[in-house]
Symmetry: C2
Subunit: 358 residues, 2 copies
């Protein structure tokens, strides 16, 4: 039950697998508005990264963060971090609506940027980032944690690449989350700042659709949002769902919501069902209800039978080491820039054109 | 593994619970084009019904069927059955495109009609049946087996009625089926006759959406069909999915397909996930993959915890007894005529306006 209340502080433990030595990849953390920043930084550190600074306008937040990272410098300003040529990458979990602008400043300072999802709240922010990447050659990478920081999701990608289920024709995702309203900051309930449910937690789902199907682009064919049961937060969307068709003909559907019941032993019973022409995969990401509080359950059904593959501690999180090497070598093995931006674009469009259900 | 290959011959065993004595409710079977007729008749017999006749133009089919029902008369013509005033109801699993016309003849003969799903292949057939019901006062009932003849689906309805998950806001259904192409008749692959995948196996899903949400009507907001991997059957749709919004604001999504892998111990890993404001229910209808070949697994998550409730043999199939009493008393407790027709209408519209994915 360790992750009972920690949906917003998701920081899974992987197996450390350093790809560089100390001080070969120095990074900093700026803006600690979401607990994801912990998982982002520990992922980089497990892969060999060295964290030099933390900065947040709220000094108490910075101090609390610093306790977990011995030797870290609490910077006095954003500029102190951005003007240090040793810093190669800035990790950040700002208020969602401010992530784009911070990224521009980071890239202007000649550094790569690694932001919590969702990376933007408007298409204009996305366009500005696309241009800045073009102009500076820097990276604007995104922490789509529900795939890159979840071992069963990583393993599913490997299975698909090996051809275990043939051609992927449909990806279905359920992304329920526990609201834990009292623990959330005000901006979390202001649409201008969090961007809407499809933009926010929907971004994980769109990213997974593109990744598992291999689609380079997709059309959002229908998207919906609702506030079914939280009139006290009028700008909260407690439900959203959408359909996608990929440029390769694969289809997708996702449902996200803030209705995780108190009785669930995890913050959310996240599922992904990937249907292929030769079999299917079901991921029970965060737990196996009524059986096990621990997550990372892969179920594979193919020609030969039904297989349950628990993968906790067996797969790790290759994204972080790949990202470090990508930053050093200017490659894009962790995630292409086009992929990171396309996922953002589609969830922004889904949100923008969503039908509101009453 | 008993139901390994029997997707098309679905005849679950319930607990017999007769509501009438022998010969108080006499019925007949006409047209045996789909194995579902076995489940339909055994359901009625377990509820006290008495089967008097079987008729099919193919005498061998009628003889094979008769072996399972001692004392049954093999009729020489449809008219022999329809002209017998003792027969109160005709059960039928004709070629889908012929079900509507047979229903009109049955109702014209003053009898109630109980057809396998899908009940129609065109909106014109539906309209003719609506008029005939109006004119004759007879019933045109439908065997939506994946709810009425599946104990966990029945139990989910009871839980919802008791308020176990609050207001139902979303129903999600996965209805994969094994193709078993060599065992299928020619008409199964001809769209004019089977009606398309959303009309055919999609009809179960639409019916469940209306039932679990309590919606009286709904809008099909997006529907899609594809033939991803069966070019040898050009008119087969091996995939379909759709979204619905109910007149009460509840939302739904369903995916149906013919991609059940050979390694699965059932004909299909049917699932239903019902999201409410106070909890959710997952049904694993036909098996619990890698754990149990037997189906009827209800998973309920609410404020108090996670609950696994296996219900095989515990719930039975109240539909059949209710239908018999409805026919005798002219009530509509088993299913209202409006509900049966609305489910048919929505799946026909979903099919008619479906986007074809290439």
């Amino acid at each position: 039950m360790t992750n009972r209340k920690e949906g917003m502080n998701y920081a899974p433990k992987g197996k450390p697998n350093p790809v560089v030595k100390e001080n070969e990849f120095i990074f900093a953390a700026i803006a600690l508005e979401h607990g994801h920043i912990g998982g982002m930084c520990s992922g980089l550190i497990d892969a060999g990264g060295t964290i030099k600074y933390v900065y947040d306008p709220d000094i108490q937040k910075a101090e609390a963060f610093a306790k977990n990272f011995p030797g870290i410098i609490i910077a006095k300003s954003e500029d102190e971090v951005l003007s240090d040529p040793e810093v190669m990458l800035v990790a950040s979990a700002d208020i969602t609506s401010k992530r784009g602008a911070l990224g521009l400043r980071v890239m202007d300072a000649g550094k790569d940027y690694f932001t919590d999802k969702a990376p933007f709240t408007t298409l204009e922010q996305l366009e500005a980032a696309r241009q800045k990447v073009q102009e500076t050659g820097r990276k604007y990478m995104v922490y789509y944690a529900e795939r890159i920081h979840n071992e069963c999701s990583v393993y599913a990608g490997d299975l698909i690449e090996q051809g275990a289920i043939g051609r992927v024709i449909n990806v279905l995702g359920l992304g329920p989350h526990r609201l834990s309203a009292p623990a959330r900051p005000d901006w979390f309930f202001q649409k201008e700042h969090y961007g809407g449910i499809l933009c926010d937690i929907g971004s994980h789902q769109v990213e997974q659709f593109l990744y598992y199907t291999g689609a380079k682009d997709a059309e959002v064919t229908r998207s919906q949002i609702a506030n079914y049961n939280h009139p006290e937060y009028p700008e909260l969307e407690d439900f959203g769902d959408m359909m996608l068709v990929g440029d390769n003909g694969a289809t997708g559907y996702f449902r996200v919501d803030w209705f995780t019941p108190d009785g669930l032993s995890s913050w959310g019973d996240g599922r992904t069902v990937i249907l292929g022409t030769e079999g299917y995969i079901e991921l029970r990401k965060n737990l196996n209800i009524t059986v096990e509080d621990e997550g990372n359950h892969v179920f594979l059904v193919d020609k030969t039978g039904e297989h349950h593959i628990p993968v906790t501690g067996k797969v790790g999180f290759p994204f972080f080491g790949q990202l470090i090497l990508d930053c050093i070598n200017r490659t894009d093995h962790a995630m292409t820039q086009a992929h990171a931006f396309k996922a953002a674009e589609l969830c922004l469009k889904a949100e923008l054109y969503a039908e509101r259900i009453e």
